[in-house]
């Protein structure tokens, strides 16, 4: 557990594309019954969207809330596993689009579904070390699932951005502490040049997701005297609905503290954006002085757990830009053929 002094969130933004496919529709194609489905529906990026465009959408919302001059942003780090370019950073695209260039640093990070919190922590370190004044941390993905694979029901698209800087009177929230838990556990991976990831089925449960999330969360709670009753909202990475609820059960957390940040059933697993969008959803409704515990999970494997305390600035700033709920509720259902087209699984002949 590491205590953090005076690093705050000044703006935040979530973006979810408009298209939704129901898990039932995917199940219809592959003969999977509705009782077997991990989520109700998932968000799908449009034909002209990718992780970079969605990162820009989220960054613009965060910037509107922060209300700072984008030229003061010294670094933009984007966590993703669906980079549109294998070589060429998304960070530069975002920086250019929001008017932050020339920024000092722009980089992409990859750690399966936890690259978003990695971005937060690396930006946080740069600010704390006095290298930059403000930094933008983004998680964005248009996650891949092989047609017919279990991942196809959940692999979704979305982005979330956080503008971090030193503490000030109008800040939205303060990051109080964090703890990381990383081991070499290959439960899910995608090799270079492969189009779809592979996963080791149930191995992704107990020895991977649960071990790492609980490792990070317990070390955060135990080593600095936080208890689950000090926390008002919990956001755990949500590859499906069941896993985060199971963590809550193990830690004896009231489901009500999980509900505001539990989005998997409505948008699926947005990978690097997943737990960050949960945090966005909570910030959209939390009150000053409430505490949020965020724990990401990335296959391979690791978890970052952060304790965030909401500040007075939230009351004014959250209404400066569209809330996540508006994106989630503004939806167009598509069938499986349209889905294949949007995912570029079928191409015009």
């Amino acid at each position: 557990m590491v205590k953090i002094d005076g690093i705050a969130i000044h703006g935040y933004g979530g973006y979810v594309p408009r298209y939704r496919i129901k898990a039932e529709e995917i199940g219809r194609i592959w003969g999977v019954s509705s009782s077997e489905l991990p989520v109700r529906e998932k968000a799908v990026a449009g034909i002209d969207e990718d992780a970079a465009t969605m990162a820009v959408e989220a960054a613009r919302i965060a910037l509107r809330r922060a209300g700072i001059d984008p030229r003061r942003i010294g670094a933009i780090h984007v966590g993703s596993e669906s980079k549109p370019y294998a070589v060429k950073p998304m960070g530069t695209i975002v920086a250019e689009a929001i008017g932050a260039n020339p920024s000092k640093l722009a980089a992409d990070l990859e750690f399966a579904c936890k690259a978003g919190t990695e971005a937060i922590l690396s930006i946080l370190g740069l600010i704390q070390g006095g290298q930059i004044e403000y930094g933008l941390a983004i998680g964005a993905d248009t996650a891949q699932g092989r047609p017919g694979d279990a991942l196809e029901y959940t692999a979704a698209s979305g982005a979330a951005a956080f503008l971090l800087g030193r503490m000030s009177d109008d800040a939205v929230a303060v990051i109080e502490a964090w703890s990381g838990y990383v081991t070499d556990t290959p439960d899910f991976w995608r090799r270079s040049f492969d189009r779809y990831p592979v996963h080791a089925a149930r191995f992704t449960g107990a020895p991977a997701y649960f071990k790492h999330i609980l490792g990070a969360v317990n070390s955060l709670l135990e080593s600095d005297g936080y208890s689950t009753s000090d926390v008002d909202y919990f956001v755990f990475h949500q590859p499906n609905v069941k896993f985060p609820l199971t963590v809550a059960k193990i830690l004896k957390i009231d489901r009500g503290k999980l509900a505001p940040g539990l989005l998997a059933d409505k948008i699926g697993n947005t990978y690097s954006a997943c737990s960050l969008l949960g945090l966005v959803s909570v910030l959209d409704q939390a009150q000053p002085d409430q505490r949020i515990l965020l724990a990401s999970y990335g296959s391979g494997a690791g978890s970052d757990a952060l304790i965030i305390r909401v500040l007075d600035g939230i009351l004014e700033k959250r209404d400066l830009a569209p809330k996540l709920r508006e994106f989630i509720e503004d939806k167009i259902y598509i069938d499986y053929s349209t889905y294949l087209r949007l995912r570029k699984e079928i191409l015009k002949g």
Partner: protein, 381 residues
């Protein structure tokens, strides 16, 4: 032929053992069995395993288990007969003791299925069928079972067949070494999705890892050892690999032959059998096991199951610790679990699952879809 006794048994929990290797699991069971028998060495080791070359890329398990169990020096053999590999190893070990060549042998069965994805395990299971005209055309273990199930339903109706998983789970409830130690309702079985129609997901055993071991000893050593003992008889038979090459696909001739022969060898009538450990890899296999071995008239196993005949309090308790469905089915280990559990029953150490003074128990192990059957009979010593 000398008499042979089971004088010790050991096993691991059947589970997804992410943190243990196949060798570690087998050594754990082996050491428990050696300790249980109160001996410090064995003359030979027989290892039952079906898929280690395929899932672990590891052969030569005999010498490996000797090393891992601290028994280096003893000759060691790996025996393979698909899902019945454990029973085949037991048969081989029995022969060495019965012949007088060995006083004590260790028989250990083990399998670690979680090293493969479900698809790989399914391919591995199908290696027990004929690759050229079953496996290569896409047939697999459950689809073959589904065909038998359909044929059975057409001839006899399928009443009561889905009761077999319910019975197994009832018996596994609270069993510490069982993979699924909880009850399962008939409604749940019937509402589970089809794996291959009419076979439902909850009518088949799951994928798990585990190892089990027994110590077999001859009469002279048995007299010296203080550990509880049960006398062992074995028999085995083969059949055409594909059930559809046989005169009647619904009669497992291998089971019929092996069971009649082992009853003869033990001098026991069917009526004297106190319990049976069935090869319930699927619900339909459990029924075919009972009918082919003459413990139920053809077409009646499901009806008897509905009447409660196979429950712990019934006239012929089956799968007293949960069978393949609920205790678990780590292929090469399964038959040794059956024999170890029978040994616990006959030596009155079955805890909550203890039957009332059982005299003799029968364990049936099947490779493929009846390609070979092993009948192991344990009698109170």
């Amino acid at each position: 032929m000398g008499r042979v006794f089971v004088a010790g048994a050991g096993f691991t929990k059947v589970a997804e053992h992410w943190d243990k290797s196949l060798e570690q699991l087998m050594a754990e069971a082996a050491v428990k069995a050696v300790d249980g028998a109160g001996i410090s060495s064995v003359n030979s080791i027989y290892v039952g395993n079906a898929l280690s070359e395929f899932l672990q890329e590891q052969s030569n398990l005999g010498a490996i288990i000797a090393e891992e169990s601290g028994l280096v020096g003893a000759p060691a053999f790996r025996v393979e007969a698909a899902e019945a590999s454990g029973a085949a190893a037991l048969y081989a070990g029995f022969c060495e003791v019965a012949s007088g060549m060995a006083d004590a042998v260790l028989v250990v069965g083990g399998e670690k299925l979680s090293d493969g994805l479900a698809e790989e395990v399914s391919s591995g299971l199908m290696m027990g069928g004929r690759a050229w005209y079953e496996g290569f055309i896409g047939a697999e273990f459950y689809s073959l079972n589904a065909l038998l199930y359909k044929l059975y339903a057409r001839r006899f109706g399928d009443e009561g067949i889905p009761m077999f998983p319910v019975i197994s789970h009832e018996h596994a409830d609270g069993v510490s070494h069982a993979q699924y130690p909880f009850k399962l309702s008939l409604e749940k079985v019937l509402s589970s999705p089809f794996l291959a129609e009419p076979l439902r997901r909850l009518e088949v055993s799951g994928i798990g890892d585990g190892a089990a071991a027994v110590i077999l000893v001859g009469e002279d050593l048995a007299a010296k050892l203080k550990s509880p003992k049960a006398q062992l008889y074995v028999s085995a038979a083969t059949d055409y690999l594909s059930p559809f090459e046989r005169e009647d696909p619904l009669r497992f001739q291998s089971v019929a032959l092996a069971v009649s022969q082992v009853l003869d060898r033990a001098g026991v009538d069917r009526g004297e059998i106190s319990f049976i450990e069935l090869h319930d890899a699927t619900s339909i296999m459990a029924a075919l096991c009972l009918e082919s071995s003459g413990f139920s008239p053809p077409g009646n196993a499901g009806k008897l199951a509905m009447k409660g005949e196979f429950e712990l309090s019934g006239s012929l308790p089956c799968n007293t610790f949960g069978g393949l469905k609920a205790r678990g089915h780590p292929l090469g280990a399964t038959a040794i679990y059956q024999v170890a559990e029978s040994y616990l029953q006959l030596t009155e150490r079955a805890g909550r699952n203890q039957l009332d003074s059982p005299r003799a128990g029968l364990a049936l192990s099947i490779g493929g879809v009846g390609a070979e059957a092993y009948a192991s009979l344990l009698k109170r010593a």
